[in-house]
């Protein structure tokens, strides 16, 4: 019984939140890694692209809610998501045309593009705050839980409850669908193959008649889609606040680098590595250990390795370790 309780507590506090957070990070890191693979710079504006896409979705969601439109038990935000994605695609294509294209044609050094993207970050951030303000926004509706802790306790008779939030379920399912579609696109379609060819060897790809501007355009569209989905899922699961997306930049970059920059599979693996490290290191393990240890050995403290205030330190330390030991990441990425 105690063992079961411990397993349920582990699932409830560590595993499920870790999987949901990992999916969000993986989607974010995929966007970063694609920009890196095709356009060859680290896009600092990615966090705020997520914020802007999510903001557009939030606004459309509110509109739908005021119309009385809803998806029943599912959040209305899913219905608004395509509009948010459309907005983000237009935004990124516009940014590319007006800003990035100039430097691409000049063949500017990547670091210049990084600085430019930092400028874009602040413009995006300014726009987001200008339109929706800097405060927390709630746009979640529908059923809160798929399994609630109380029902679970009643059904199983265990003293630990397992709750599974709707947002967590949606996050995981959406992430699986999106990743499957992305890999199908990259590996099976002509456009996807030309993207991979361009990423592997630009000159050879150009020689074989691949149109670089088309590749770049498709990349931005995919990146916008991924960013918006990641932003909306994160916003649904936690809450929508413009500033948190800038802070997400660090774990997202850490995920992309841990997996190997430019490598999509690596980005997904990296997302989960970072998410689980963060959750396990900042979780107070006392609750689980109480069930596993005999009473005499019961831990006195919270058995929390680090306070949650330092969750960013976890991704940072992992990042440093990877840079020191294996700068190409777990899966071979482009690192030099």
């Amino acid at each position: 019984m105690d063992l079961l309780n411990a397993i349920v507590a582990f699932l409830n506090y560590v595993f499920v939140p870790g999987v949901a957070y990992g999916s969000q990070l993986a989607l974010g890191a995929l966007g970063v890694t694609l920009v890196y693979g095709i356009l060859r710079f680290s896009n600092f504006a990615h966090g705020d692209t997520m914020a802007l896409g999510a903001m557009a979705t939030v606004l459309v969601t509110w509109l739908f809610q005021s119309w009385g439109l809803s998806l029943g038990p599912l959040p209305t935000a899913l219905l608004a998501l395509p509009f948010g994605i459309g907005f983000a695609i237009l935004l990124l294509l516009f940014t590319d045309r007006t800003v990035y294209k100039f430097y691409r044609e000049k063949k500017a050094k990547p670091v210049i593009l990084v600085i430019v993207s930092l400028g874009i970050t602040f413009i995006y951030n300014g726009v987001t705050r200008f339109i929706i303000g800097a405060d927390d926004q709630n746009f979640f509706d529908g059923q809160r839980f798929i399994i609630s802790a109380r029902e679970f306790k009643k059904a199983t008779g265990l003293s630990e409850g397992l709750s599974f939030k709707t947002t967590q379920g949606i996050t995981i399912i959406t992430a699986i669908i999106v990743v499957a579609l992305l890999f199908w696109f990259l590996n099976r379609t002509r456009a996807g193959k030309s993207m991979r060819a361009y990423s592997d060897n630009e000159d050879l790809a150009l020689l074989s008649g691949i149109n670089p501007e088309r590749v770049v355009m498709i990349t931005w569209m995919i990146v916008a889609t991924l960013a918006t989905i990641a932003g909306v899922l994160y916003g649904l699961d936690k809450s929508f606040k413009p500033f948190t997306y800038f802070q997400l930049l660090l774990p997202i970059f850490a995920a992309a680098i841990v997996g190997g920059l430019g490598n999509p599979i690596g980005a997904i693996a990296g997302g989960f590595v970072i998410a689980f490290s963060e959750v396990t290191i900042t979780y107070a393990w006392k609750k689980i250990l109480v069930y596993l240890m005999p009473d005499s050995l019961e831990p006195s403290g919270l058995v929390q390795l680090m306070s949650t205030d330092y969750k960013f330190a976890v991704s940072f330390v992992i990042l440093l370790i990877v840079l020191l030991i294996k700068p190409t990441g777990l899966f071979k990425g482009q690192s030099t």
Binding site: F41, F44, V114, L118, G126, R129, F246, Y310, F316
Partner: protein
């Protein structure tokens, strides 16, 4: 138009702008702009050293500035009565032990032969070290934070003259920069950017959460000053008399005089640092740096140690940011970890360097003053603009209220736009590199 004339004119325009603020708003705000402009210029000088001379992209300026602020507290504040006896020594011991563990792990990793045995030994060392560290630190921290939490609840400082904190702030920042540089330099240029972004967030998190060190979000106030207090000046008969002879009230004269003293101190630091960086720029070392920046492969082929030079210049630049951070906390005479925002302390400095002219020290100083002036004045200008835009709208309409409220966010937008536009149309800045 020759160069000297053009530069003099540019600085003259800024001087006029500040004098205009003096006449229209108040001399106090004008002097404050000058003081903060000097500090900003020093930060810009540090970033220019990294970016302009060596092409290193540091997104963690905020962290180095905050470390300087920490130095001001640790050097300047009086020690808390009984804190060292209660748990202070244990805290210090725990920190030494933590550093020792990491050091020992590095030694292990270097000496043992490659293989699973080495990995296991290093991991075991770190894990055991971490638990001993926490076991020693946590109870000690609790004891320290218990001492009069409303007033102190932290270790306090050494009670030394606060001017000493300025070089110490530089040392703190240099130490952090060494750790980052050692790991991230020599790899892709973007990795340094990401690593510095991370260290800055973590330094701020530490300042916010480690109450025994900085009182966290409760802020440390009343950091001692290197200049006299206004209240003492107002009480001194000779000062009041002299103020009256210039036609000032005692209150006005004392606030102005304190600012003038700060400005003189800051200007002295700026001039020293400026002289040093000019000398560095024109030395063989500076020429080597620029050669590396312009063509790393060629420089390496000539036998230059690219990574080592990058590490040097990265540490020096960060140290300058640390000095500026200590100066700023000294002038504010308080450390408020909650106010460190990446926009204000990292991004703004970058705009200063790019607008002023990367690779030119004079440009960095010009950018420091100009952008700081804009930063202070954009908000009233934004509000004025919004008032103008919304003047035609109905009183009490939701859109009008929203727009007026959003004027505060204009700063982000303006600074982003300035950076993008300058990079696009005038990438060499106002005073280009020679």
């Amino acid at each position: 138009m020759n160069e000297t004339l053009k530069n003099t004119m540019l600085f003259g325009i800024i001087a006029l702008l500040i004098i205009y603020v003096g006449f229209v708003q108040s001399w106090n705000s004008a002097l404050l702009i000058v003081a903060m402009g000097l500090i900003s210029s020093i930060m810009a000088l540090g970033v220019n050293l990294q970016w302009g001379f060596a092409g290193l992209f540091n997104v963690g300026v905020m962290g180095f500035v905050a470390l300087g602020g920490l130095a001001a507290v640790l050097i300047g504040m009086p020690p808390t009565e009984g804190a060292m006896r209660a748990g202070g020594w244990n805290v210090v011991g725990a920190l030494l032990l933590g550093a020792g563990t990491v050091f020992a792990a590095i030694i292990l990793a270097k000496t043992l032969a490659k293989g699973w045995l080495r990995n296991l030994a290093v991991i075991a060392m770190l894990v055991i070290g971490f638990f001993v560290f926490r076991g020693l630190l946590d109870p000690a921290v609790e004891l320290v934070e218990e001492i009069n939490p409303a007033q102190t609840g932290y270790l306090g400082g050494l009670g030394l003259p606060v001017l000493l904190a300025w070089p110490v702030g530089g040392l703190f920042a240099a130490a952090a920069a060494w750790i980052i540089g050692k790991t991230a330099l020599g790899l892709r240029s973007d990795y340094l950017a990401i690593a510095t972004l991370g260290i800055a967030e973590i330094i701020i998190a530490i300042l916010k959460n480690e109450d025994w060190l900085t009182r966290g979000v409760k802020n440390v106030i009343g950091v001692p000053r290197p200049v006299p207090y206004e209240i003492d000046l107002q009480g001194s008969a000779s000062f009041v008399e002299r103020a009256a002879s210039f036609g000032f009230t005692p209150v006005e004269a004392s606030t102005l005089w304190v600012k003038v003293l700060y400005i003189l101190l800051f200007a002295a630091v700026l001039i020293i640092l400026m002289w040093l960086s000019q000398r560095a720029l024109h030395s063989p070392w500076g020429r080597m740096l620029r050669a590396i920046r312009d063509n790393e492969v060629a420089a390496e082929a000539m036998g230059k140690d690219v990574t080592a030079r990058h590490l040097q210049v990265f540490i020096l630049g960060s140290a300058i940011c640390g000095i500026a951070g200590a100066m700023m906390t000294t002038m504010d005479s308080q450390l408020t970890p909650g106010t460190y925002q990446p926009l204000r302390f990292t991004f703004l400095i970058w705009v200063m360097v790019i607008v002023g002219g990367s690779g030119n020290n004079l440009g960095a100083v010009l950018g420091g003053f100009l952008i700081w002036f804009l930063w202070v004045q954009v908000e009233p200008m934004g509000l004025w603009l919004m008032n103008l835009v919304t003047s035609g709208m109905a009183e009490g309409s939701a859109l009008k209220a929203h727009l007026l409220e959003s004027a505060a966010h204009m700063r982000l937008l303006t600074m982003g736009l300035v950076l993008i536009l300058v990079l696009r149309f005038s990438p060499r800045g106002l005073i280009p590199e020679k």
